[in-house]
Amino acid sequence: MDVSGTEQQLTEWVQDWSESGAPMDATTELRHSGILDSIGVVGLVARIEDLTGATFDLDTFDFSSTVCVRTLLTHCLAT
């Protein structure tokens, strides 16, 4: 799959959701910056699953690391 293109789609999804207009990319931390609330994270994970056809494993994702489009997508593709 085109990972780079998928990252771009997801980043646009987040920008559209946050409506903040702040510049961001696939490595922007989504929680600390307040870009996504919990509903937004659910929506983003759902979108990742829809685009990849893979399942996001909540139990094994390392939430202590950066939560961004890239880490979420990478985790989903690896499981």
């Binding site: 999804w13 559209d16 959701w17 929680r31 600390h32 307040g34 609330d37 919990s38 509903i39 994270v41 659910v42 929506g43 994970v45 759902a46 979108r47 699953e49 829809d50 399942t55 996001f56 909540l58 139990d59 939430f63 202590s64 939560v67």
Partner: protein
């Protein structure tokens, strides 16, 4: 005190005052479907997601039947004790577990994880399957530490049917946590008004009432009630993941500065916010980082544990009780 990998407040006990056993065995399908509709609706307002995807993720969060995952979260976040809320939907949604079944399930979890959980048992005063005598027996057997009410099932917390139960609570010093605010769309939100507590808190001054989600919904009414009645508390369950609250960190700082800090109880509403990183993330936001919501000191100790500890039945003589006149 247990040694934790993370200890945000060394030497102090952190109590999560409002958690749930994240199990689809305890939550009726109708309720899950309604909650999924709530979340999906918020996402679809912006045209964002398919309902089936939300349902998949939602159900995944409710797969911790024995609370092993929750204990991992508690350990990682430095939470010593969590209070499990066990709402009873059995009258409104027949077939779902009632007070006695909920007590048995939660007792088995408590035995699996000794000293980690306290239980507020759910009841519906209209149920014919049990009565105040059963609550008394559970209290005598130390299987319950409080009562959880879910008025959106269709009753008022000040309904006279509740009074025999409140007599038991008064006798055994069981606090009562009452859900307020919105919930699954299959239930009636009109019973979620915190002011419905008004008569009960007046008539039972020896019973401590905790307004569940009082820091979020109608919070100004909840603060007013807490100022008027010394047996009224409110909790923060769901605050960090509530849509429409704006900056929850600023909101919490504001609440804690309103003169009722000794009546506000920390609660996560686990498994809510699991997709944000759960308890480690939440405690990190509250106490860690460059700009923590809370500053070290007695007020923070009370909020993160002391306030709840002094309400629990066998903790009345704990140090925290002596810090704040009641």
């Amino acid at each position: 005190m247990r040694a934790h990998p993370v200890d945000p407040l060394p030497g102090h006990v952190i109590v999560d005052g409002h958690c749930h056993l994240a199990s689809t065995q305890l939550i009726p399908e109708e309720l899950i479907a309604g909650s999924v509709r709530n979340v999906t609706g918020q996402l679809q307002v912006r045209g964002k997601v398919e309902p089936t995807a939300v349902e998949r993720i939602f159900r995944r969060q409710f797969s911790d039947d024995s609370a092993d995952r929750l204990v991992e979260q508690m350990d990682a976040a430095g939470v010593e004790v969590a209070v499990l809320m066990a709402p009873d939907f059995s009258v409104r949604i027949p077939g779902s577990p009632g007070m006695l079944e909920l007590a048995a399930t939660h007792e088995s979890v408590r035995r699996r994880h000794p000293d980690r959980f306290r239980v507020f048992i759910g009841l519906d005063p209209r149920s014919q399957a049990y009565g105040p005598g059963d609550l008394e027996r559970l209290a005598q057997q130390h299987q319950v530490d409080g009562v959880k009410l879910y008025p959106p099932c269709g009753f008022s917390p000040s309904d006279r049917l509740m009074y025999p139960y409140y007599e038991v609570c008064s006798r055994y010093r069981l606090p009562v946590l009452v859900h307020t605010g919105p919930t699954s769309d299959c239930l009636d939100f009109s019973w979620g008004d915190p002011l419905l507590l008004g008569t009960a808190v007046r008539d039972f001054p020896a019973v401590d009432f905790i307004i569940g989600h009082g820091a979020l919904f109608s919070w100004d009414r909840c603060v007013a009630l807490a100022k008027e009645r010394r047996n009224v508390y409110l909790d923060t369950a769901g605050l960090a993941s509530a849509p429409g609250i704006g900056d929850w960190r600023a909101h919490l700082r504001h609440l804690l500065a309103l003169g009722v800090g000794e009546r506000i109880i920390f609660g996560s509403d686990w498994p809510l916010a699991r997709t944000m990183g759960g308890l480690p993330w939440l405690l990190g936001e509250l106490t860690g980082g460059a700009d923590p919501v809370l500053q070290p000191g007695p007020a923070t100790d009370l909020f993160l544990g002391g306030n709840m500890l002094r309400l629990l039945p066998d903790q009345r003589s704990a140090d925290a009780t002596n810090e704040v006149p009641r």
